[in-house]
Symmetry: C2
Subunit: 318 residues, 2 copies
């Protein structure tokens, strides 16, 4: 079987995941075609993962498939978008059938789980790298931006923070403990908060996904919204596993480490008070937006170092 046939065999099923959706033409023509319903805006984001930078060469291809789509889809969650489809630009040193099969398996599981159908792509030879562009839809003007946070808004985060960052310490563990397995799973299979993002559309004034660390990502909201904030260390949602593994340092992981792909959003107090309890249960209030610029942690100013980490992709390590 030729290499093209091999790739086709493993990826074409990902283009047929759904019944009715907004994709009119999928892979196989010069372009894909998507129908954007009247009254909806198209929301899209592209993310690249490079071997040796974002993942080791030995990284399990099925995990890589899931993670790469999850990381990209998380940006849709942060905008409150309903996921529709994605493109995959895959660069491979060779067409290794086992690798392709496993990668496509993980990618396909993620695609099905997130509701994203493969719209098209490009496969080239070269050092292993992937760029994925995800597409979503929002009602016209309803996307959640980073720039809408206002003084008095509550700052909330979903799930727990710091798990995936702590997992980096156990990637090589031969027989990980239950707690280590928990944080490793959080790293390998992040769950973009797509349903939550859509629910936040009518409540949140601003949102971002926590990919670079809470301080850095909240910093992006503050900068885009021209506001400041106070947050409290004791309020940070930390998993029992992370607490057991890292003790007092657990909160530092929650503040600084990325890769959790939880959402951080700002919500006016009145909206929060009226929010359904099913939504509140998924979120933790960690602080409040203030008019005074800068970020304060338990009352003490947090240096701008946090912004630099998040902004500068060239300094990112993972």
């Amino acid at each position: 079987m030729g290499e093209f046939e091999l790739i086709r065999q493993y990826f074409m099923p990902l283009a047929r995941l759904h019944g009715p959706h907004s994709l009119l033409v999928g892979p196989g023509d010069d372009c894909a075609i998507q129908q954007v319903p009247s009254g909806s805006d198209l929301v899209f984001s592209i993310d690249t993962l490079v071997v040796g930078v974002h993942f080791p060469l030995s990284y399990r291809p099925d995990y890589l498939g899931w993670r790469s789509l999850a990381v990209a889809a998380s940006d849709l969650a942060a905008m409150g978008a309903d996921p529709t489809c994605f493109t995959l630009a895959l660069t491979l040193p060779e067409a290794d059938e086992v690798w392709l099969r496993d990668f496509a398996f993980g990618l396909g599981k993620a695609a099905e789980s997130f509701g994203l159908v493969l719209a098209g792509g490009d496969t080239t030879r070269g050092p292993l790298a992937l760029s994925l562009q995800v597409h979503g839809l929002v009602p016209h003007g309803a996307a959640i931006r980073r720039s809408g946070a206002r003084p008095g808004d509550l700052i909330v985060v979903s799930g727990t923070l710091g798990d995936a960052g702590a997992a980096l310490d156990y990637l090589e563990a031969l027989s990980p403990s239950t707690d280590e397995e928990f944080v490793l799973e959080r790293y390998h299979h992040p769950e973009p908060r797509l349903t939550l993002g859509v629910a936040l559309r009518s409540l949140a004034t601003a949102a971002i996904d926590v990919s670079d660390g809470l301080l850095a990502d909240l910093g992006h909201i503050l900068e885009a919204s021209s506001v400041g904030a106070s947050i409290e260390r004791a309020r940070l949602p930390v998993s029992p596993a992370l607490k057991r593994l890292k003790g007092l340092a657990a909160q530092d992981y929650a503040l600084h480490s990325g890769d959790d792909y939880e959402l951080c959003a700002t919500i006016p107090e009145a909206s929060w008070a009226g929010a359904p309890s099913s939504l509140k249960q998924q979120l933790t209030v960690i602080g409040v937006i203030e008019s005074a610029r800068g970020l304060r942690l338990d009352g003490a100013a947090v240096g701008s170092e946090a912004d630099a980490v998040g902004f500068d992709h060239f300094r990112r390590k993972s």
Copy 2:
């Protein structure tokens, strides 16, 4: 200046190229947002260029900037789409200021020339590679597919073929002749036939851009449309420069070599007869679609080898 600031400085102007366009939110948030007018379909395609595979390390960054966007935009031309915006996933070993400046200059010239505004992107560290996704719009249902060719349709191509392929022989030339310079310019600065593509929307039953070579790309139309074709060697449009450089072999370049990014389309005879002469002047009739499967060149069957070259990205060399 930090690396992020450097990149921002050179790329942000590309996000402000246009006045009114369909981009509601550009770079800087979790996602970009595009408004797709009611009655229009979104058309999109992603292409990757990798150093050492698609271009040499020493390739001029301003040429690379132009070429990378031209190659991607050519897919929009093939669908008859009006270009709107693009995303850039750029992987760089280091943030070399001169390289970035020159690359952004070439990319910016292309963006302005093609009418494509930068919508967003991702910059990562790693071996030099680029993935670009281009977006365009077509009236609902009006995109030109590969699958619409019907027996009796005339086969036309735009411009001249083979120039860019011949240019590969002169890439290292220290003082190229005028003819060599002509074909080199065709290679370095391909012009996606965007205006022509839009004009073909109401005439063509099928279209593709010639990126892998005429035989391979026409083969894709034949396969997608379940038809065959006869073409004539003597009708192939070849530039005077290519004729002088390659003599009798010029037509072989026109048949086999890619990188010209001209359009190949099929048009019913009646439509062709009624087409405006300004359009006809940009096109050359090279053959006709037939119901008998396969591709015939001057009456002799062309082997399926042609298809394989085009289909199998892993075999592409340039």
